[in-house]
Amino acid sequence: MKGNIFDIQRFSIHDGPGIRTTVFLKGCTLRCIWCHNPESQKPEPELAFYAHKCRSCGACRSFCDKLFTSNCTACGKCVDLCPHGAREIMGKAKEAADVFEIVKRDREYYITSGGGVTLSGGEPLLQADFAAEILKLCKNAGIHTAIETAGNVLWENIEKVLPYCNLFLYDIKAIDEEKHKKLTGASNKLILQNAEKLLSANKNVLFRTPVVPGYNDGELDDIARFCRGKWEILAYHEIGVGKYAALNREYLLRCVPPTEKDMLSIAKKTGAIYRPTGM
């Protein structure tokens, strides 16, 4: 079965235990204002354009008049035509079996490090059948499996992956519903419900919260109470900002990333797990 993905990153060491291959599935129900993977939000493939590489040679225009209009179908012809590599299609449909072929290539590294595969996104559980198929193939091959989810999906979607997923990395961005709506564009009712269900199903869950100073740092105490110790905090960073321009979107957040010191003191105060990234 096919699904839409936008990247496969090998040798990931921050998405679960050990050395992992992280598969990024496309499409998300949330629109977090700090999102560092804007290309993950729309479910369908889209065209990215890197202005700094463009030399205005016109090779793309000669072929297409729909560039960056709503009529662009992301067919990818202009990517081939561009001699300067200024264009890229983000996202493509791939067979679950093909994804597994790539994941399996690093099996030896998983064995040494206690690693495995992590499905991330976007919201991987929007393509629950596709996700379940990848995880099933991996699990049958003895590969540890994890999912990074925001949990804003129907419980039946989660149920599909339950038998094949060893670890849920579960995002909680705010406890206050209004605040959550403001930050992500959606209510957190479903998210919190699903989280409770996962816990009572005795699943291995690690809650995670991005700390975005001035936006959700007031929520941290409530989140800590909700997560009951299985909780990790991550620092907001600006690595994804350049991708907004490439996708012809505006980056609205104005925020100074927290320092390593800030994060350590938050972790100490709230009892959260914090693993320094060394950035």
């Binding site: 040798f11 060491i13 490090s113 690693g115 990234t277 060394g278």
Partner: protein, 721 residues
């Protein structure tokens, strides 16, 4: 002539040797030198010994004596000397380092010399060595004298040779004795700490070098005197040699001694020392000295000497952690090697397991058997991409437009890719054979005119057989040839296979024309060829060709024999030469344009082409049987600082390296730097004087590299952001 004896004792000893035998001549030079050299003692450097050996003979003696160099006097003497042309030439080389080119000229044809200057190939026959300092320290010079006498009795008619060895040992004893006298002379005027140091030195020299050391200070003093005597090259298995003395030391001075020795190593450009590893029982060989040495390296952050650390399946976590903590400082060391790959590789050469476990590194990445071999050196090198040029341009090198290769006819006539590969391998074989022949000719000359009685005494096989170190004496005499531009050529072949033979999108004629025109007017073709699959991304289609080419090269070389009585093995460690070789190579079908100067670094991917992360790169490299590589088969990886300053990062790297070794990888060499740091260093070198990067086999200060090489290092994919 009296004057020459004090001005240039080495030359005097050579010219006025009582015996004409070449080994004896050199030994006499050494003795004459030991007698006449002016010694000085600086108590601040903790040990006595003079680093006169890190330049060719003669000059090294001269510089240590701080004597003026009377060239006219020596030239006059040489002219009158009755030695043969090459004999005097060798002496000249010893005196004037630049004259090595003259020696080359004596044995190479003009064509071979042109090929060397234009980065096609070269062959020599000299190089690095790992004398057996353990034997020297453990038995003392008296023990060695006994050994020499024992074998003199067994090999009749070799008196000149054995006397030469004894004379060299006498010269060493004499230097030590003179140092002792000098120290005694200086003692009355010394005060405080200096006085203590001098007393310590005098006391040590009452015992060494005739007897073996009684504590770690004596061991270091002995080691330094002998290491600096004639042979500042590579200390070899350092913790194996000195670990015993370190662990048994009760003076409380051992860590300070180690630090002082480390300073001396650094200031003399000592090459490579090797620690850790396993013995033939599979037991780990790390000792207290191993760990303290790494601690000293972390403290000083020197870019030299090179440290090699050997690992194996029973290596303790402590060893891994010590290595990774040292890498985290950014000095690019230690280079880590895998016993489970190198030992079988050596065994396949016919070296018994027990000796194979004594492998160590010298120079940058050359594998030697500690104290038993003359094989850890570069015997030659060739540019793999030139074989492809010869094939496509009918024997011509694109840089010189001269016919250096074989003309196998019009490349358009190849109907299948396999036929093309057959032609390509003919060119390859021709090149390797030429390197081997050139090297063997040089080896013969060195054997005849450049004996080395000091190394003969300290290398197993020489004393036993009565043959010099350079003349088939050592137990193992294999050779090592290096490759350049192999991954670039593989990518080129892959693109040719795809576009010319499989898809038939372009014909060979068009491709050859495009390459000759440096792709000008062939933009579409350029885009296709340059963007096709590249090596280093775990793509089977590409890696299969990589394997085929590599296996062919490695196996063919092994069919050729060295003059020293071994086989030629292949290694790949391009050092900073990747840029030179790239510069002398024209447009290639992998999308390299004439003006792109960078070749791939050693066996890794072409810079910027490994886009699937480190595991994919390792998987690609692992498709080759690395036990076929008999010299350093270097894989360089660059990680950002964040990889090494977090627990996850360190553990991730450790698992990566362990997996690579478990799957048969030979070595990993790691740079830890941030891209920003490098970019800034290029613009503001003054702010980054201490930034060390590992280039090929050795670490260098980044700001000293050429802009081309700086770019290469910046471009090399930064793994694990």
């Amino acid at each position: 002539m009296r004057r020459l004896e004090t001005i240039e004792p080495f030359a005097y000893g050579y010219l006025h040797s009582p015996r004409k035998n070449m080994e004896y001549r050199i030994a006499n030079s050494i003795y004459c030198f030991a007698k006449n050299i002016q010694l000085s003692i600086d108590p601040k450097s903790f040990f006595v010994g003079t680093p006169w050996a890190n330049q060719p003979l003669g000059v090294r003696f001269k510089s240590s004596c701080s004597m003026s160099f009377e060239t006219t006097e020596i030239k006059k003497s040489l002219k009158n000397a009755k030695g043969r042309f090459l004999g005097t030439l060798f002496l000249q080389c010893a005196m004037f380092p630049r004259a090595t080119e003259t020696i080359d000229a004596a044995h190479c044809s003009l064509k071979t010399q042109l090929m060397r200057w234009n980065k096609n190939l070269w062959g020599v026959g000299g190089g690095h060595g790992n004398p057996d300092y353990k034997l020297l320290l453990d038995s003392g010079t008296d023990g060695l004298r006994e050994k020499i006498e024992k074998f003199r009795a067994l090999n009749s008619g070799k008196d000149d040779f054995y006397d030469a060895l004894l004379l060299t040992l006498d010269a060493f004893d004499l230097i030590c004795k003179r140092y002792k006298e000098k120290a005694e002379e200086t003692l009355p005027s010394a005060t405080g700490k200096d006085k203590e140091t001098l007393k310590r030195i005098i006391s040590a020299l009452e015992n060494i070098p005739q007897k073996s050391p009684r504590n770690f200070f004596e061991a270091c003093q002995f080691f330094w005197l002998s290491f600096s005597f004639l042979d500042i090259d590579s200390p070899g298995l350092f913790d194996y040699t000195l670990g015993k003395y370190y662990e048994e030391d009760k003076t409380g001075l051992r860590y300070e001694c180690l630090k002082k020795l480390w300073e001396l190593f650094h200031t003399t450009r000592t090459w490579n020392l090797c620690v850790g590893g396993s013995n033939e029982k599979g037991e780990d060989m790390c000792n207290e000295l191993t760990y303290d040495l790494l601690a000293v390296a972390r403290e000083y952050k020197f870019n030299t000497p090179n440290i090699t650390m050997r690992f194996h399946k029973n290596s303790p976590e402590e060893a891994w952690n010590a290595a990774i903590d040292t890498l985290a400082t950014g000095i690019g060391m230690p280079a880590i090697y895998n016993d489970e790959c190198v030992v079988p590789a050596m065994e396949k050469l016919g070296i018994p397991k027990k000796d194979a476990h004594l492998y160590c590194m010298n120079g940058c990445n050359q594998i030697d058997i500690y104290g038993k071999s003359h094989m850890g050196l570069e015997d030659g090198e060739f540019n793999v991409a030139k074989a492809l040029e010869y094939l496509l341009f009918r024997g011509k090198c694109s840089y010189t437009k001269k016919k250096f290769g074989l003309d196998l006819g019009d490349p358009s006539r190849y109907k299948t890719f396999d036929e093309l590969m057959t032609g390509f391998f003919k060119e390859i074989d021709y090149m390797i054979k030429r390197v081997a022949d050139t090297s063997n000719k040089a080896q013969v000359i060195y054997a005849k005119y450049g004996p080395n009685p000091w190394r003969s005494t300290l290398t197993e096989g020489c004393v036993e057989s009565g043959l010099d170190y350079k003349n088939k004496g050592p137990l193992y005499g294999h050779g090592q040839i290096l490759t350049e531009g192999l991954p670039d050529t593989v990518d080129s072949l892959v693109a040719i296979k795809h576009y010319v033979f499989d898809e038939k999108k372009y014909d060979m004629k068009t491709l050859v024309k495009a390459l000759m025109k440096n792709y000008e007017g062939y933009e579409k073709l350029y885009k296709d060829f340059s963007s096709y699959h590249k090596f280093g991304n775990d793509i089977d289609e590409v890696d299969e060709i990589y394997k085929e080419v590599t296996h062919h090269i490695y196996n063919y070389a092994l069919t050729l024999e060295t003059f020293r009585g071994g086989k030629f093995g292949i290694g790949c460690s391009t050092f900073q030469r990747a840029a030179e070789y790239g510069e002398h190579t024209g447009a290639l079908p992998n999308g390299k344009k004439k003006e792109d100067t960078t070749f791939a670094d050693s066996i890794g991917a072409v810079p910027g082409c490994d886009t699937h992360g480190p595991t994919a790169l390792l998987n690609s490299v692992l498709k080759v049987d690395q036990t076929l590589a008999k010299s350093g088969n270097v894989l360089q990886m660059k990680f950002s600082k964040s990889q090494f300053n977090t627990k996850e990062g360190k553990e991730g790297f450790k698992a990566l390296a362990k997996t690579y070794f478990r799957m048969g990888g030979q070595t990993l060499q790691i740079n830890v730097v941030s891209r920003e740091e490098l970019l800034d260093a290029k613009v503001h070198p003054e702010k980054h004087q201490n930034l060390v990067v590992r280039v090929g086999g050795f670490s260098e200060y980044f700001v000293r590299l050429s802009p081309g090489l700086q770019d290469n290092i910046i471009k090399r994919t930064e793994n694990g952001l």
